[in-house]
């Protein structure tokens, strides 16, 4: 604290020379050395070098890509169906304050149901597989998409609609030409958040119930005492999550410019 005017200490010198990402790298090196030196044996730990080897093997035999595809397919289907429904209803409720207030209680009653509570229900209906997982992802994506789209559309400048009315635009072209483009940056932000939620929910479903994809690979590796494989999948999952967020943020900036980025809730 108060270090802006403090004299340059040794530690400050280090921050000038060394980048911050060195810390996790150093932690891995230290873990490798201490675990080798002490010869620790645990079912839950693995040497970083063993994890790297396990990861390379998973890449070499293609398993990691198969598992990823198994997770990404239900995400795609679920986001497409659930997100699309949420978007449509969200636009409708955003345009009509009357409809939004009528739907208020129903939304407040159904939205707090945690998506994971639906896991047993979809299992009962669909058994295990892609449909079951897509249904849960869809349910989880529906609500944030609906609410964020509703707010985005409701906040569109009223004067734009006045202009549209003066120009004599029909209701459908008012939606397509005015409401949607004006709300697009915030709807895209909603999509970014929704995709993040979808990844979490999909992996969670696989850990809890559905024997497919990265989540199941993670827990089955852990339960079959292969911590190296487990951590390799974990690192890959972190990478996918990071890639998703960075990719969508970059796309957002590209589509709408840097100025619109601060609108995320």
């Amino acid at each position: 604290m108060f270090c802006s005017t403090m004299s340059r200490t040794h530690a400050d010198f280090l921050t000038l020379v060394l980048p911050g990402w060195l810390l996790p790298v150093a932690a891995l090196v230290v873990a490798e050395i201490t675990m080798r030196a002490t010869g620790i044996q645990s079912d839950g730990l693995a040497l970083p070098s063993q994890i790297a080897t396990a990861w390379l093997e998973l890449v070499a035999d293609g398993e990691i890509f198969i598992r990823s595809a198994e997770t990404l397919a239900p995400i795609a289907i679920g986001v497409l169906i659930g997100g699309m429904l949420g978007l449509l209803i969200g636009v409708w409720l955003g345009l009509s304050a009357f409809a939004a207030r009528l739907a208020w209680l129903s939304i407040e009653l159904f939205r707090p149901i945690p998506p994971v509570a639906v896991i047993p229900l979809t299992m009962l209906i669909y058994g295990i597989g892609v449909r079951m997982e897509a249904a849960i992802v869809g349910f989880a994506c529906f609500w944030p998409m609906l609410l964020l789209t509703r707010d985005a559309v409701a906040d569109v400048d009223v004067r734009l609609f006045e202009v549209a009315r003066i120009l004599g635009l029909s209701r459908s072209s008012r939606i397509v030409k005015i409401a949607l483009p004006a709300a697009a940056p915030r709807i895209f932000t909603a999509l970014r958040l929704t995709l993040g939620i979808a990844l979490i929910v999909a992996v969670t479903t696989e850990i809890a119930a559905n024997p497919f994809g990265l989540g199941y690979a993670l827990i089955s590796a852990g339960l079959s005492l292969r911590p190296d494989v487990m951590y390799a999948f974990l690192a890959w999952l972190a990478f996918l999550g990071w890639l998703l967020n960075v990719g969508l943020t970059a796309l957002h900036r590209r589509l709408f410019g840097a100025a619109s980025e601060g609108t995320s809730p």
């Binding site: 979490i200 969670t204 809890a208 974990l234």
Partner: protein, 253 residues
């Protein structure tokens, strides 16, 4: 149209959804094994609460969720304050935090099981750790975004570091912290339910899983309704905390 009339309409819309549900099940359009009638579900829910163990199970789940939430909030605020107030800690830890953040919280479950086995305390640790992010990151931001002049004022007044954290940092970070705690509680409920399903520890999560596996669909729906009620209670509680802790902010919205 007047306000209470729209409120009434909103209640009617919700009621008509339940009426539709009743009609659909009564007409036999859906098999009752997939969708039992709402009346049967509510009757079952009531029986489970008054004569069965549903109430105890709900309380078990809520207790676990609250302990996890307390730990996550406390840990998030303390760690966030330390990291937020120290430029050096921020410099070194931010990349690591960014690396860990995108991991779904539930992926901690397999790791917790592999490291510590199927213990109740392991599950509590996973809940707390998984739900720490929504508190930690806003807290760091709240503590680091203090007006620089306040730093100078504090130094001139000879305020100690700890007093600075409490008197300047905490009030500045509070709105972000409370908003983070809201998200954290939602995460806690989710991780608790999944954790119970995976580790088969007593609670609503295990109960609805068993109900689904043995095709007791009224029990399953009763459990889902209870979890929804817990969710509603949570958001009500957080709205209350928000109003008490940050009244200036609640007045705006």
């Amino acid at each position: 149209m007047s306000n209470w009339l729209i409120r009434l309409g909103s209640v009617l819309v919700a009621l008509s959804i339940f009426a539709l549900w009743q009609v659909v099940t009564q007409a036999g359009l859906v098999q009752p094994i997939f969708l039992p009638s709402p009346l049967a579900t509510i009757a079952n829910l009531w029986r489970g609460l008054t004569h069965g163990d549903l109430l105890a199970l709900t309380l078990t789940t809520m207790e676990r969720m609250f302990y996890g939430w307390m730990l996550a909030s406390l840990g998030g605020i303390v760690l966030g304050a330390i990291i937020g107030l120290s430029r050096r800690a921020r410099y070194w830890l931010t990349p690591t935090l960014e690396l860990l953040r995108p991991l779904p919280a539930t992926t901690l479950l397999p790791i917790g099981i592999a490291l510590f086995g199927l213990q109740p305390r392991m599950l509590l640790g996973v809940i707390a750790f998984g739900a720490i992010w929504p508190v930690l990151l806003p807290t760091i931001h709240g503590f680091s975004a203090i007006e620089p002049r306040l730093h100078e004022v504090a130094r001139n007044l000879g305020v100690s570091r700890l007093a600075f954290a409490f008197k300047f940092g905490l009030p500045n970070a509070l709105p972000d912290v409370v908003a983070g705690m809201r998200l954290s509680l939602t995460a806690c409920l989710i991780i608790t339910v999944v954790g119970e399903m995976v580790t088969a520890q007593e609670g609503l999560g295990t109960t609805i899983m068993m109900a689904a596996r043995s095709f007791r669909s009224t029990d399953l729906y009763a459990g889902i309704i209870l979890l929804g009620l817990v969710g509603i209670a949570n958001s009500g509680l957080l709205a209350l905390i928000e109003r008490v802790a940050t009244p200036w902010r609640a007045a705006q919205t």
